[in-house]
């Protein structure tokens, strides 16, 4: 028994890569989750590091468009809610950075990749938030789009990522509801407030659709990610789901979506919608969006400004340790 196991074990070292990859793919196909210490193809690891860290960066950068509105919140209640929401985003960033760290990259390396502009994050956060109604539109549309993606990721093949997503999804529906609540209140208000509500929807609608990424035929990472069950639904599938959901909810607000081609398609049992401006999408991805520089700069300043705090905390911990040793 023992000898047999040992033989099998050493034999595995001599196996060809594709044989081991086959075993790996079998596990994936059988819905067995991959855990940090399991063997995985290098490309699987790299894909996950890229995707999870981008996701984490998005949560962290996502605090910026909302953080600026905390002190202008119209009531104390709204302010408390917004603070709680922004705090959640920080927490979500942390869950995700932790999940990425299990793949062998450390937190500070990821931070450096973000502030140097090497790492990407969701393009949506490169758009400015111009009015209080934007807090509503971000919660309802941006978080609404994120939730669809995140619900899918609760079943992703990498264990720590899936567990982080479950935690995040539990908290995320509060985000979408508080956003809808802001817009709903405005939609019941004065003409000026109604106009504010519609204006925010107009500006955030198309960027929200872009959040699902390029069209399936133009998406470079999709096929492999689907095979590895990192992703379980295609970009266009999720985007369609989102349009169907929002096109109904917008009626409750008594507002419209800024798309003349938006129309219910009885045959398809879903909405048809207009073509996304892909030039704008790629332009923002490449760093030329309205706020790209500002966002990176804010993160860089926070990261560098925090260096002395991180160092001081370490020095203090060391000092305390030495003291307790001496005593």
């Amino acid at each position: 028994m023992q000898v047999n196991a040992l033989f099998l074990y050493t034999q595995r070292f001599d196996m060809e890569t594709d044989a081991i990859e086959k075993i790996f793919q079998q596990k994936i196909d059988e819905e067995i989750k991959i855990e940090p210490k399991d063997w995985m193809p290098e490309k699987y690891r790299q894909t996950l590091i890229r995707q999870i860290s981008q996701h984490a960066h998005s949560e962290i950068v996502g605090m910026l468009p909302e953080g600026g509105w905390i002190k202008y919140a119209p009531t104390l209640k709204r302010k408390a809610i917004l603070i709680a929401k922004v705090q959640d985003e920080a927490g979500h960033g942390l869950y995700l950075y932790s999940a990425a760290e299990t793949l062998g990259i450390d937190y500070l390396t990821m931070m450096e990749q973000l502030v140097s502009g090497k790492a990407k994050y969701s393009s949506i956060f490169n758009y400015p938030s111009l009015s209080w109604a934007d807090m509503g539109a971000i919660g309802w549309l941006v978080d609404g789009a994120a939730i669809l993606n995140q619900v899918m990721l609760c079943r992703t093949s990498y264990g720590p990522y899936a567990r982080a997503m479950v935690r995040i999804c539990k908290e995320e529906s509060f985000h979408q509801r508080q956003g809808f609540d802001i817009l709903y209140t405005l939609s019941q208000g004065t003409d000026e407030q109604k106009a504010m509500c519609q204006d925010a929807i107009n500006r955030w609608w198309w960027p929200s659709l872009m959040m699902f990424g390029p069209k399936d035929e133009a998406s470079t990472h999709s096929d492999q990610s689907m095979n590895w069950k990192i992703k379980r639904k295609s970009n266009d599938e999720l985007r369609g789901q989102f349009v169907n959901m929002i096109a109904e909810q917008v009626k409750v607000l008594g507002m419209t979506l800024p798309d003349p081609d938006l129309k219910w398609n009885e045959e398809k049992n879903s909405y048809d919608f207009g073509e996304i401006n892909w030039d704008e999408f790629w332009n923002v991805v490449k760093g030329n969006g309205p706020c790209n520089k500002q966002r990176i700069e804010a993160r860089r300043k926070a990261h560098e400004g925090g260096t002395w705090v991180r160092e001081a905390a370490l020095a203090y911990a060391d000092k305390k340790k030495n003291k307790s040793k001496a005593a």
Binding site: A5, F13, P36, K37, I49, Y95, T102, G104, T109, A313
Partner: protein
């Protein structure tokens, strides 16, 4: 040869070499970072502490404070344990076959192994 064994954070340290630094292709940052802690939360009296995730902190007190802010914002817990990740020893996934197999071939350890006469109602 393919490298089958790799060291990772997250309570998955190789127990033959605990606390060793990571050895991966990623560039490690030059700044010394706060150590990593694993967080365990007891959700209510009478239940076990359960692993919920990890975070970086300079010392145990900070790890507990941050764990409270990060992992118990919505009544998830009433008690928190923190332990520095490098002190956790773990088995290797590659050993699983030999390590856990003996459990499978001793099915008599399970009560369902024994057929009872119908006359015996509850046992």
């Amino acid at each position: 040869m393919i490298k089958l064994i790799r060291k990772f954070y997250y309570g998955d340290y190789d127990s033959t070499n605990p606390g060793a630094s990571l050895n991966t292709n990623e560039k490690l940052s030059e700044e010394t970072s706060w150590p990593l802690w694993e967080i365990f939360v007891r959700s209510k009296q009478g239940l076990d502490h359960k692993h919920v995730g990890s975070l970086h902190a300079a010392d145990a007190a900070m790890a507990i404070e941050n764990a409270r802010d990060v992992y118990t914002r919505r009544n998830e817990g009433i008690s928190i344990w923190v332990v520095q990740s490098k002190y956790i020893h773990a088995t290797n996934a590659e050993d699983a076959d030999s390590l856990y197999d003996p459990a499978n071939d001793k099915t008599y350890r399970h009560p369902t192994f024994f057929d009872l006469p119908d006359a015996v109602k509850h046992m």
